[in-house]
């Protein structure tokens, strides 16, 4: 945990990936993030993967470093409490992240009545407010039809919820940007981040849409080929699969050198009258001629021979490895200072990451686990809303709020 956002209080009422990850990023940069869930947990509280005791490893992963308040969100009194938390006073508060509907009890209009300069970041599915999730937005953008081997027409969904993740990080950015604006002008804002707009804008920001407009169709499916440059998976003599990539002239010449095929590629260049070094697009255009040269070079060597030669030569490559192997990979997990062994609400202890970026000047504070559901209910009601013990006890008795024991 770093303290760039020290002093900020953010209230999060959310579920699934996008808005909880926004809260996670804010919390791990030092904000106090108060996640509010309905008593018993929201729709993501039992989301797989699960520990043997039924605890969600997913929930405890996305809610690290946060505080948890449990309130009955179906009841008017509970809803009013959440509204008051979201609109809590103070220059460093009134910061709210949610994926609840635009027109429900957490509408911007409702919250603005309680605090005129409130900042609300709202994750949405479709921009028109209709139900959409990462996988259904993704299917509408054409990507599953561009993904996977050329010889198989079936659509291939991504396994990583990329739109959720991008939306989450963009929402964290949106919230701190709106805070800077509020510090300058005194004005609050609602920032709506629909997955559909994030998806559509990104397809344009990467040139996919302009390409489709110009050619009349989307980029064709091409397996693992890197579009517009050189890259693909290749198989070594011992049957290992390695990814090799060459976009810059340097990456290209280093790959040829390490594989010992500079001469053959030079002969092909002479035959075709082109320079692959200068123009990476030509490597793509003529990839059907280039691939056999690479395939033969890979097939003549084992992965154990190629790996040190690639590393020594500064080649841009990677082995395909399963996650269980990655866990032992010191470049990713094993001994990575981003990770610390933590005891989680599931009762399990395992390494968990803090902030995804590193700040060489600052000490990485302890990685804080996710809270138990409702663990901070009383503390937050007292500190943020100024409630006394008797009032808090009444809310418990009435079943409007609950602590970590579920009551």
């Amino acid at each position: 945990m770093y303290d760039l956002l020290k002093g900020l209080t953010v209230v999060e009422v959310s579920s699934f990936v996008a808005s909880p990850s926004a809260g996670l990023y804010l919390a791990q940069m030092g904000a106090e993030v108060i996640r509010v869930d309905t008593i018993g947990g929201g729709p993501d509280f039992r989301r797989w993967p699960l520990a043997d005791n039924g605890s969600s490893l997913y929930w405890e992963a996305l809610n690290k470093s946060k505080k948890s308040v449990a309130i009955d969100l179906a009841r008017p009194e509970g809803r009013e409490l959440v509204q008051r938390l979201a609109a809590a006073p103070g220059d460093d508060a009134g910061l709210f992240v949610t994926n609840f509907p635009v027109d429900g009890f957490l509408s911007y209009e409702n919250l603005k009545k309680l605090r005129d300069d409130l900042i609300c970041v709202r994750v949405m599915g479709w921009a028109d407010g209709s139900q959409g999730m990462d996988y259904t937005i993704n299917s509408a953008l054409g990507l599953p039809l561009m993904t996977g081997p050329v010889d198989d027409p079936r659509p291939v969904n991504h396994v990583l919820a990329a739109w959720d993740l991008l939306t989450g990080a963009y929402c964290a950015f949106g919230l701190v940007s709106a805070l800077l604006a509020r510090m300058r002008t005194g004005e609050g804002r609602e920032i709506r981040a629909p997955l559909s707009d994030i998806g559509a804008a990104t397809m344009a920001n990467l040139g996919f849409t302009a390409e489709a407009m110009l050619t009349g169709h989307q980029r064709p499916r091409m397996g693992n080929d890197i579009f517009g440059a050189f890259g693909r998976d290749f198989t070594t003599r011992d049957g290992q699969t390695l990814m090799l990539l060459a976009i810059t002239p340097k990456q290209w010449s280093k790959a040829l050198e390490a594989l010992g095929i500079a001469g053959e590629v030079g002969a092909l260049e002479a035959e075709l009258g082109v320079s692959f070094t200068v123009d990476e697009g030509l490597r793509f255009t003529h990839r059907a001629r280039l691939y056999p040269l690479f395939e033969r070079a890979f097939a003549a060597r084992t992965a154990a021979e190629l790996a040190p030669a690639f590393d020594a030569g500064g080649v841009t490559w990677g082995a395909y490895q399963p996650l269980e192997a990655a866990l032992d990979d010191p470049r990713l997990f094993k001994g990575n200072p981003v990770f610390q062994e933590v005891r989680h609400p599931s009762g399990l202890s395992y390494p968990a990451p803090g902030a995804m970026a590193s700040i060489p000047q600052d000490a990485r504070g302890a990685v804080r686990p996710a809270p138990r559901l409702g663990q901070h209910t009383d503390e937050i009601l007292a500190e943020v809303l100024g409630m006394g013990e008797a009032e808090i006890a009444r809310l418990h008795d009435a079943g409007v709020v609950a602590g970590a024991g579920g009551r």
Copy 2:
């Protein structure tokens, strides 16, 4: 364009996707983002897709709303100019985004000598500084082995550079967060964002790593099945492929209702002694029994029959459509106010997006196209570094800087 970050000046020396997208997000929220490229363009200046005249549609998509300065980055005098731009004075400047190496001429140590409170956000490949790009990091995380049909063991790369995109948005968040900290404490920082750490942390933030530690292996490949709940692609009577998803109890009951299979599913629940409504994980566990019921229901109806029934019933679903169809889809592109028709440096006019989020209270300013390379060289040297005409002319004559004409 919105003006949340109005007044900020950010200097970007970068290429490819991650750091340019960070600059793009900052620019479209109102910062003045000055992208510095070497004369003639960096390694991404001719990146595919290309317009017929050879202009990069990719470059002009990722550099919208920025200003462009062209400087010879190979020469000491050019390098010094870039360092001075990065470290420009003012409370709202000294903000720098790059993917250049940690130990090169744009090292934090070098820049800190010019401005003690500089904020530098640096995208990296591997955290140890070695060459890594989205696709080679991704292969090391196990995802390509989890992606694609169960009956095909070949690794499947993602087509969308998800790690680059997540890193870009997280860097924009990091920069604004560091600025908030500098306003509070007066201290600058370097924030390093290696794709490898962003990837590793995200695999943990979503529960993938805890799952692999517990089970000893990564999540098995399962085609388009949604892990831990219910969802997959199904084929209609007329051969259309639709994605259907049900995570919450409401999503589940609405899907059953719209497909008219509540009775059959109820019978299966009775047989198995389970409730699929309450526990989405059971839908996953028993999916081999559930799928045939859904397959038959889809196969009995055309997409044209199902679509309105799904929409009327509030079902979470999506059609797989190619991008050229999405371009006509009013939920994504056609008439979407996020997009405006813009004339780009390629000479082509086509719709391009502004900020990915929307702020109902604020007017969306005009979407500004990417600059021509070097278009703002003189303006920035004069305004930011206070250079006079004669000095700027000398730099042009010496070939240290260039304008939009390439000189």
